[in-house]
């Protein structure tokens, strides 16, 4: 299973489908079955974003659950100015960044397994080819090096790379989630990619 496929994701700031607004309204009245439906809709994307930020499954599990809990407790303050999805995303991102600031210098990776499709992904097959300088590197080693390199980035730079290059959000969507302008998103993305490329030089084709 591929988490957070960009093609499957609804546009966060497009008008919310009636089902979602209805679910939100019912959840605000205390209908837990409606909130359960909302959780099921967004749990994979929220979990994936937090997991990619922390590189730790247990932390991601805790933070994702607490994000949904906090969102439920704060539902009455949700005015509908943005979509529920964007609002939820902001809660999760803020919670994760606060957590990472407190956890600074105590980073411990607990990586999830790769799914069986990874070995057949054309991009990855092309990467792990005879043209790769470190062609003896397997996918697991690449995974570990990639996560270690991501953890070296600052939280805002890591978040931009995760949201854009892994989650597939547009610059505009990222700017709304991070509450900054698009120029900032672009410059952070460029800098973060430069840093990552330097860290992973041995594993990238030149």
């Amino acid at each position: 299973m591929i988490m957070a496929e960009p093609m499957e994701r609804p546009q966060p700031d497009s008008p919310a489908p009636p089902e979602e607004s209805e679910l939100v309204a019912r959840a605000r009245r205390g209908d837990l079955s409606a909130y359960d439906e909302l959780i099921k809709r967004y749990q994979e994307r929220i979990y994936a974003t937090i997991y990619h930020m922390t590189s730790n499954h247990e932390d991601a599990n805790d933070l994702a659950q607490e994000s949904f809990l906090k969102a439920y407790q704060a539902l009455k303050s949700f005015k509908g100015g943005s979509s529920f999805y964007t609002w939820l995303y902001r809660i999760a991102v803020n919670k994760t960044i606060n957590f990472l600031k407190q956890r600074k210098n105590r980073q411990h990776m607990s990586l999830n397994d790769l799914d069986f499709q990874a070995e057949h992904d054309p991009d990855l097959v092309a990467l792990v080819s005879d043209k790769t300088p470190r062609r003896d590197a397997g996918l697991s080693e690449l995974q570990e090096k990639l996560n270690a390199a991501l953890l070296k980035l600052s939280e805002p730079h890591r978040l931009v790379v995760i949201l854009h290059d892994v989650q597939g959000l547009s610059h505009e969507e990222i700017a709304k989630v991070m509450d900054c302008n698009i120029g900032t998103v672009r410059s952070r993305l460029f800098y973060a990619r430069q840093q990552l490329q330097a860290y992973l030089m041995d594993y990238l084709k030149t």
């Binding site: 837990l32 359960d36 994979e44 997991y51 659950q65 407190q102 799914d115 992904d121 990467l127 990238l204």
Partner: protein
């Protein structure tokens, strides 16, 4: 040149992240876990959040230690100085005991303890009797043999 073309290899490598998946069945249980926590009225388990709710000033104080190591070291230095001052002050030769303690000890020695020892303490010979000859072999018969009978089991 398009910025994406410069980082094409990196973008391919980052695609690997999309293949990292949690344990099987994880998302089947996830919403149930969240709903159960909501039903139980469980507060966020994060201790820092509980602290932030009940004593935000204390949390800010602790966070300053993490954010500013200089503040943490100066706070620790101040504590050490305070401790050192306390030790030096306590060991000063001219430090005299508290007068109130002296008075109470003198009073109790003169009146209380003497009175108790004369009124309640047993006589020295009784104490000696009760603790001497305490081995089982030296027990004395209670009735001086007056009611003792000789018993034989022969038929």
């Amino acid at each position: 040149m398009n910025e994406n073309e410069n980082f094409e290899s990196l973008r391919r490598l980052l695609a690997l992240k999309r293949h990292e998946v949690p344990p099987p069945g994880y998302f089947n249980r996830f919403s149930g876990n969240v709903i159960a926590r909501i039903r139980a009225g469980e507060q966020p388990s994060d201790a820092a959040e509980n602290l932030a709710r009940h004593a935000p000033w204390l949390l800010k104080f602790f966070q300053m230690f993490e954010a500013k190591p200089a503040f943490a070291s100066s706070f620790a230095s101040a504590l050490c100085l305070l401790l050192l001052f306390g030790i030096v002050y306590a060991e000063r030769p001219d430090a005299t005991p508290q007068p109130i303690l002296q008075t109470s000890q003198a009073d109790s020695g003169a009146m209380g303890i003497t009175a108790v020892s004369s009124a309640v303490a047993p006589a020295p010979e009784l104490i000696a009797n009760s603790f001497s000859n305490s081995s089982p072999s030296s027990l004395q018969p209670l009735f001086n043999g007056a009611f003792a009978q000789q018993v034989s089991f022969s038929h």
